[in-house]
Every structure is written in C-alpha cells, then in structure tokens.
Amino acid sequence: MAELGVRLAGVSLRNPFLLASGVWGESGESLAGAWRAGAGGVITKSIGSDVRPGYPNPTIEAYERWGLLNAMGLPNPGIDEYPREIEIARKAGATVIGSIFGGDAEEFARLAVRMAATGVVALELNLSCPHAEGFGTEVGSTPENVEKVVRAVTRAVSIPVIAKITPNTSDAAGLALAAERGGASAVSAINTLRALAIDVQLRRPVLAHGLGGLSGPAIKPVGLACVWQIFEKVSVPVIGVGGIATAQDALEYVMAGARAVEVGTQVTFDGIGVFGRMANDLTRLLDGLGFARLEDAVGVAHRAARAPPA
C-alpha cells in the first residue's frame, strides 16, 4: 500500500487532499465534516478584517460537471467572529489551514497574527481571488506586491505561510518566485480563472457582479501548466489546485510538481465523499504504477521532459 502521507512546509498531512478555500469553510462543523470525510487537511474560507456579506445573488453559474463560475465576493464573518468556527474544527481533530485576505501588506500582517493565534497549522494568503475589488488578484498581480505582502506576513508570524497564486497573469511562476523571496514556505496554484457568463434572453451577465472566477475540470490543464512552470522556478513546495475530480487528476498535478492538492468544485458535483474516494483510488493508482510513496512521484514528469530523446 503506497504511503499517501506527505510533509509540506513542516506540516504533516495524512494525505495530499486539502479542502480548498471557499468551499464548505463558513462553519466549523462543515470543516470538521470534510475532515471526517477523509480530507488530509481543511482550508478555511478567506477571512478578512471585517464582516463582509459578499455580492448579491446570482453568485454562481453551474455547468454540467465541467465547470463552475462564481463571484461570491469573499463573504466572511470577519476575524473577530470566525475563530469560534476554527475551534470547532480543531476539536474534531482537523488539520486546519487559515486563509486570509487583505487590501495591503499591513492588513495581511495584522490578520495573519490573529489567524495564527487560533491554532491553525499554516496560513494561506489569498492573493488571487479574481472578482473582489481591492483584494485578491488586485493585490497579488505583481511580483513586487506579492513579495511585500508575503514578507510582511512571514515577519509577523512563525507558522508556515502559503501564498495562493493567481493564474490571471502572464507569469504565474514569477509571482511564485516573488512569494518565495518574501519567505513563503509554499505556494498554491491556481485560483479561479477570470470568467463571464451572459444570458442572451435577458441580455446581461448572469452573475450579479458580472465577472467571476471559473473552477472545475475545465481549468485543470491551465492549473497543470502553472504548477509545472512554478515547480521549475521555485524550490519551496507547490500545492496544486484546479479541476481535480479524480485521483488521477491529483497524480497529474503531483507529477507536474505538486506535493499536495486542493479540491473544491468536485465537492459540489460529488459530495464530500469525494475525499475518501480519491484517497483510496490514489493508493491503488500508486500501487499499480509502482510508487511506494506519493512523495516519490512529485515532479517526476520534469525528469522525462529533460531527458534527451531516446
């Protein structure tokens, strides 16, 4: 039986499947539920300084299993309220990673201190939400800003810091490199791709916010390319995110360079049981391919790509 446990930036994960931020993370019991369903760890909803209701509905457009378009608008109860939800998840034994978003380096650092105090094992910085004015991608789209934010956070806290990188740029690897320079212990990629849906009868965008972010199987090849390029450039571990629906998708990310993966949209299509299922399937898949440990498969596709043609 292949070993699924991985070490990631000093954190031990029982398996590489993390609940992606933004899915199920509003309530502590939901986080606990994802953990009980077999997730290797759970990432909270992105938490900001203040109570934020998010955008009005429609906030979502679902496509038949290949994608999901959303513009939730970073709804969250704020850092004063949220720690009680983390407490519930931690009491259930969950490995919890706290996601935060801020408008500048100072706000990120303040939030990081508060989030670290809740006992989360690591922080994930949302530098990549594509549809929130003043946050996410707007903060994380230049290497200078990414480095500045990450440096401010890593100076403020002692737990590992993961920078979540946007794909809505010409150079995701450059952003990842900037995060590494700023002291990030790991980077995760990708967040959703900026996207739009139009209703022709009503002659208007479907989402109340207009632009949103696309997730789900449709974006997997884009995520793989970003992880591939990031792995070539940085030495910190990479977490692969984007359209992972099966154990094989996860292994593709691992071979492209990811040490762990995040799963979100597939929870919508298959329910939370997807975590237990993918972990079982991945064990079988690794066994069949002759890998004793998942860690042995990290980045192997790069070796083949570098090898001279036979």
Partner: protein, 258 residues
C-alpha cells in the same frame, strides 16, 4: 441549468402572501425548491407550492425587502429559474398529520395534494396570526383533507398556537407521520409532541442560500447543508443540531439568532 420564464399568473393568497406561477418543465416533487432570479436584483431559494405538470409555482410571504420585491413581480415579467433542488417528502405514510405555521403551507400543500391523490388520509393543523392569513385553507379542503385551524388572535378556530391543535390531534388520532413547516420554535414543539407517541416527524427548513449546490456553506446547519441534505429533515437528524431553532447564518456567514 437555468431558464428564463415569463410569469403567467399572480395570485394574492392572503394579505401577506402571493403565489407566482410560471411555465417550467423539469419534473419536481413536493419539498423541493427552485432558485428564482429577479434580473438586476437578487436570486432567492423558494419552495415550490405547485410541483405538478409544467405550470410550477411559488408562494412568498412578505418578510423583508427582498420578498416584497419578489411579490411585486407582475404577470409577463421575466425571471430566471434553476432547480429543482433538494430532497422531498416521503409520500408513503398512510395517515399524515400536516402542521403548518404561517407560510409553511406553501411547501406542505403540494405534498398533501399528492398524498391525497394516492388515497392517503391527511389532517391539517393550520396556523396563522389571524383568519385572513390562513394560507391554502380552501386548497386543503378541496383536496379532501380535514382541516383544524388555530389563530393567534382567535379570529378563527382555536385561539393560540397551532402546536396546541397538533398536540390534541396527536393524542386523539393515530398518525404514521407528521409533516411540518413554519417557525423553528414551532417545529421543535411539534417534534416534542410527537416523540412520546413515536410518530416520525419531517421538518422543512429554511436557510439563507447562495449556491444551492452544497458549496458555499451559507445554509450549513450542524453537519448538514439545507440545500442538498434537506430542505426536509427527519426529526432524529436534527436532534443533535444546536442551530435548529436557535440561529442561522447571514450573508457573511455570521451566526444570527432566529
């Protein structure tokens, strides 16, 4: 999937409730809900009050600003519909007690209708603040259900809460199931009344919803999501859920007392 439809009918059921009818072909069952999109405004979860055939319907009570705006839609206006979503009432029990508080009848009436259509016996404890607010009384009578009324002000039927009527019915008649929808405090009382008689209770719950797909967590209640695990919950599932009858989450995910 989403469809844009024109409203075909608008019925003022009571001074505070309005039914909107629209053509929407996807099959639906009593208990399920749809997301109704008012272009340029909002999108809201609404239990179907008419589930059969193509002409579906929802019945809305004026609560906040948004529900008032939904009520103000006119015949011919276009809205977006997606769904139906969620689970349904189990229609197999032979003798059903329906306990409705306020606009709860919106989801209970189509369930009772289908039950009656297959020869089930249906007794309805119908509660409202005052007589003109009794929702779907005529509809329940038309389908051949026996109806017992309670109003807060005593303007019709028993004066006081409908739970008192439900308790009396449970102590005098045999039932195989109770279906209830209304304020959660009311439903908790219904559960307590049915428990000693071992009659299973099914509650239709309401929560703030955004995605309706089990992703956003807005409708989280205990380990469940009302959009995909509900809206209909057997009472035993709610036994250990401390949110039930206590709080819901607002648009930000903050806990708000009910």
């Amino acid at each position: 999937m989403r469809a844009v439809v024109s409203l075909t009918e608008r019925v003022e059921e009571t001074p505070s409730t309005v039914t909107l009818r629209f053509p929407y072909a996807p099959p639906a069952d009593p208990g399920q809900f749809v997301m109704i999109w008012l272009p340029g405004d909002d999108e809201l979860p609404m239990s179907l009050s008419y589930t059969d055939g193509v002409s579906k319907g929802v019945t809305i009570k004026a609560m906040g600003n948004t529900s008032r705006r939904v009520q103000s839609i006119r015949t011919g206006d276009r809205v977006g519909i997606r769904g139906p979503y969620g689970n349904r009432f189990d229609l197999s029990p032979k003798r059903v007690l329906v306990v409705s508080g306020g606009s709860g009848a919106a989801v209970l009436a189509p369930a009772a209708e289908r039950a009656r259509a297959t020869g089930r016996s249906v007794t309805v404890a119908l509660g409202a603040t005052r007589a003109p607010e009794l929702l779907f009384k005529e509809r329940f009578l038309r389908m051949g259900a026996s109806v017992e009324v309670a109003t807060d002000d005593g303007s019709e039927g028993t004066k006081g809460f409908v739970t008192a009527v439900a308790e009396r019915l449970l102590s005098t008649e045999p039932f195989d199931a109770v279906w209830t929808c209304g304020p959660e405090v009311m439903m908790k009382k219904v559960i307590a009344a049915a428990a000693p008689r071992k009659v299973p209770v099914f509650c239709s719950l309401e929560r703030h919803m955004k995605c309706a797909l089990g992703m956003c967590d807005a409708c989280a209640i205990g380990p469940f999501h009302v959009c995909v695990d509900g809206p209909v919950f057997p009472a035993e599932k709610l036994a250990g859920v401390n949110e039930f009858g206590a709080f819901h989450r607002d648009s930000s995910g903050r806990r708000v007392p009910l």
